[in-house]
Symmetry: C2
Subunit: 257 residues, 2 copies
């Protein structure tokens, strides 16, 4: 059975989408069958893979609402060795529409059931909030969550709120919800700030912080404008090397490599 990891942090701009795309791409690079689920109405993961989200007829929204099966909306990209359940603008309305539906926080989990047999890894990219969309992402995280933390002070502030939310979910909706790992992103070794934040994060999440951290690398910010992952856009960059190393670390610890 394939592993399902959800990438989550309600703090904005910490590298959730960048991690989903590029960790995903290197899992594909190492021969893993990979599915990405774009759960963010901004549809950044969808556009990072060169897909025009305004032209999407069906995707994550239709799966959540129950109009389509997940297998009916998956897009495949051979060049990137990745498959995608795309986001679309109507996903923005899903938060409100989900409120009145049965099993409103389990819709994604139910929608992805069965797919884990077809893929080695499923990564879910979340919006920067703790609403019903992110809640669906958390309940679907069968093998745990990956928390990107920007190596800056303000990113520390939100970790308390995130762990409170996780504890609440573990208390009733999903007792087995676990943290697969915490990833430090946009690490800048020219300042003490990043090193200080890393030390704080390691204290806050003992034994959970990935050995690999992602340096600030302009190539990672450029790749989305070319609609491709870093593994194809700039494979020799420090950003690419770091995500490759992260994929390697994940595969080793998952017992796959």
């Amino acid at each position: 059975m394939g592993k399902i990891y959800t990438i989550v942090n309600q703090k904005g701009g910490v590298g959730k989408t960048t991690t989903a795309i590029n960790l995903g791409a290197y899992l594909g690079f190492f021969g893993q069958k990979l599915l990405l689920v774009d759960l963010d109405p901004q549809a950044n993961a969808t556009s990072c893979l060169g897909v025009e989200h305004n032209k999407i007829n069906s995707g994550t929204y239709e799966v959540l609402i129950g109009h389509k099966k997940a297998s009916e909306v998956i897009l495949h990209n051979q060049a990137f060795k990745m498959s995608l359940i795309p986001s679309s603008p109507n996903l923005a309305g899903a938060e409100i529409e989900l409120i009145d539906l049965e099993e409103r926080e389990r819709r994604l989990r139910i929608g992805l059931q069965g797919l884990a047999a077809d893929y080695d890894y499923i990564l879910i990219d979340c919006p920067p909030s703790l609403g019903l969309l992110t809640l669906n992402g958390l309940i679907a995280a069968m093998d745990g969550i990956i928390i990107p933390v920007q190596s800056e002070y303000l990113a520390l502030e939100g970790l308390g709120q995130l762990t409170k939310t996780l504890n609440r979910i573990q208390g009733n909706l999903f007792p087995d919800l676990s943290i697969r790992g915490v990833l430090l992103t946009m690490y800048d070794n020219r300042t003490n700030l990043s090193a200080d934040v890393m030390a704080e994060v390691r204290k806050f999440f003992p034994h959970k912080v990935f050995g690999t951290f992602i340096p600030r690398s302009i190539r990672l910010a450029e790749a989305p404008s070319f609609g491709m992952p870093i593994s194809l856009y700039a494979p020799a960059s420090t950003g690419a090397e770091a995500y490759k190393q992260l994929a390697h670390e994940l595969l080793i610890n998952d017992g796959v490599k």
Copy 2:
């Protein structure tokens, strides 16, 4: 009457809080009486001013729900020449609680009525979403909104969704809603990416982009950990100069200077 500007962009991590704090600080520096409203459950603006949001008894949440008057929850800081309506953790629950309340999208606008007579400027910091909290921020923006746009590709993607939301609001809830200005942030002149994004943003928002743009400056990311605005933490830094220039540009165009 003082001016009320709301700082908004659903894209995460684009510099909304950094702009609210530091534009605010320099408006105070230029002798303007300034009030900051923290409408984000993350309470980043509150902690940037050295206030422990876990110790806050009443703030924005109480004003929205109607338990307190705005004047009863304002904190004053002489050293920073700023006043603040702080956020607190219970604000996270407000999105759901507001749904069933009367005038649910006008609660902040109503709560701030009368305060515009006591302040020269009121700046409202929003969370990275387009839910009921941000909607309250938009309806309260009596003199317009300020849109920070990170000088990176993914930040462009969200502008379409933001303008669609603005058009919808102008269509019914708040016909006079206007864009006061678009601010380019984290501009990095070592790459073409920032220049390309700036050109796109000027095309997208003709005549609306501030002449001043904010460079990427590590001092801006360090200041929050000291609980003070850049004007006190590192007044000679490029980040401080830029926000000082922005305050100056705003005051000139508002006819105050």
